[in-house]
């Protein structure tokens, strides 16, 4: 490796450490959020330097759009909650200055026991990771086996072959984790999130122009990455995140996205990825193959189908995460929710 490359990698490592420390120790949660967003972006660059474009794509898709939007929107909810708190009244800003993220955004003082637990588990994880690197077998473990069977997997990109064919089980359960997170949100707050409300700020000319230009491009990019997964870095997860981000963009501008669809279609959209995996797995078992084993001749088409279903579900789920948080404690949303529930009770 040449000295300039060592210089670049060293600089990225240093920047990562500084950003991580600042994200933990900044005086306000809003500053922490900014540091954390920057950390995600630098992390994507680090993955690129490690020659791992698949991970870099996933990190970029989550880190640039979704993560920042969720953090900033959650801070808004914290800020509103603290406004109703009588103790927070004393921290009114001086006249002429409007406090966007008031008392709720101040970093809570650290408690000793959780700090010790977090530090201990981080230390344990670091030790395990170092040990895993030391024990890495020569020649990269299963790389040779993955390359050898690539022709039979139905795709041309080894990472996609691992994710969708060799280790389809893992991907299926990962889609399940997202679904479980969504169900958790439903349990915590009901289905209010799906009843979308009009934003308080209607989009101006610039924003509506931007959204008209960006939203189709995002959907196009999602389709492109989904297709690309067959032969190059890309695939269902990255594609789904971009799809979900397009939904978030439309929602931020006050467009109705999910409430236009019948509730049954929304539920199907959320369940599609997990369900298609399950149907394929079950069908494979019934025809005497192993769970999630594709018939070799049609593996390529089936993988594309499963990936498309997974991408749609991931997009729906990620959008629903945001939609739920964004409309939490808005009275209109609850009215819509009540109306929708009433409609559902019809025989």
């Amino acid at each position: 490796m040449r000295p300039v490359e060592i210089g670049l990698d060293g600089l990225l490592c240093l920047l990562l450490l500084v950003l991580a420390w600042k994200a933990l120790r900044a005086p306000h949660l809003y500053q922490s959020a900014i540091y954390f967003i920057a950390l995600g972006l630098v992390m994507a660059l680090a993955w690129v330097r490690l020659a791992a474009p698949d991970v870099a794509l996933a990190e970029a898709a989550i880190g640039t759009g979704l993560l920042g939007v969720l953090l900033i929107d959650s801070l808004r909810v914290f800020a509103r909650d603290s406004k109703t708190d009588p103790d927070a009244e004393s921290e009114e800003p001086p006249p002429g200055e409007i406090n966007v993220y008031p008392a709720g955004s101040a970093r809570p003082s650290g408690r000793t026991l959780p700090m010790i637990l977090v530090t201990a588990s981080c230390g344990l994880l670091a030790i395990l990771l170092v040990e895993a690197i030391i024990e890495l077998p020569d020649g990269g473990g299963l790389t040779a086996a993955a390359q050898e069977n690539l022709e039979r997997s139905g795709v041309d990109h080894p990472v996609t072959a691992v994710l969708l064919n060799y280790r389809g089980y893992d991907t299926w359960l990962e889609v399940g984790v997202l679904l479980l997170a969504m169900l958790g949100i439903f349990c915590a707050g009901g289905r209010v999130g799906f009843a979308e409300t009009r934003q308080s700020n209607p989009p101006g000319h610039l924003l509506s122009w931007l959204i008209r230009a960006l939203a189709p491009l995002m959907i196009l990019a999602a389709a492109y990455l989904l297709w690309l997964g067959k032969l190059a870095p890309g695939g269902a997860f990255q594609s789904g995140v971009i799809l979900g981000s397009a939904g978030i963009l439309l929602r931020l501008a006050g467009f109705q996205v999910i409430s236009r669809l019948p509730p049954l279609a929304v539920k199907l959209g959320l369940l599609l990825g997990f369900g298609v995996f399950l149907i394929f797995g079950g069908a494979a078992l019934l025809t005497g193959r192993a769970f999630l084993e594709y018939p070799e001749a049609r593996a390529g088409e089936l993988i594309l189908l499963v990936e498309t279903a997974a991408a749609v579900s991931i997009g729906f789920t990620i959008f629903a995460f945001f939609a739920y948080l964004n409309s939490r404690d808005q009275p209109e949303a609850q009215e819509n929710h009540a109306r929708e529930e009433g409609g559902n009770q019809k025989p």
Binding site: I37, L41, A44, P53, T64, I242, A253
Partner: protein, 92 residues
């Protein structure tokens, strides 16, 4: 030529590192947000340089994602705090 690209990349990383001073000093929430934006836009340039330097066109797709999604944070900020707070909003 590759060395030139990597040297340019180092210059850009130093640039974004310098922008962190705006997160520390603010003074407004919008100033701090601009740092996150600078990481996104400079990140696009960095990724394109690294794609050329390493000869891996796949890195350009990462740049594509950066370019498409980095704007979401600003839109979210403007739509949830924007017109109500005005241009001179202070967050602390």
């Amino acid at each position: 030529m590759d060395t030139f690209y990597v040297a340019l990349a180092i210059f850009l990383v130093l640039n974004v590192a310098a922008s962190l001073i705006r997160v520390i000093r603010g003074p407004t929430a919008a100033d701090r947000l601009m740092t996150a934006q600078l990481f996104g836009t400079t990140g696009v340039a960095l990724l394109l340089l690294l794609a050329e330097a390493s000869g891996q066109p796949a890195f350009r797709n990462v740049a594509l994602i950066f370019a498409l999604l980095a704007i979401l944070i600003v839109i979210c900020f403007v739509q949830t705090t924007g017109s109500a707070a005005g241009p001179g909003n202070r967050e602390a």
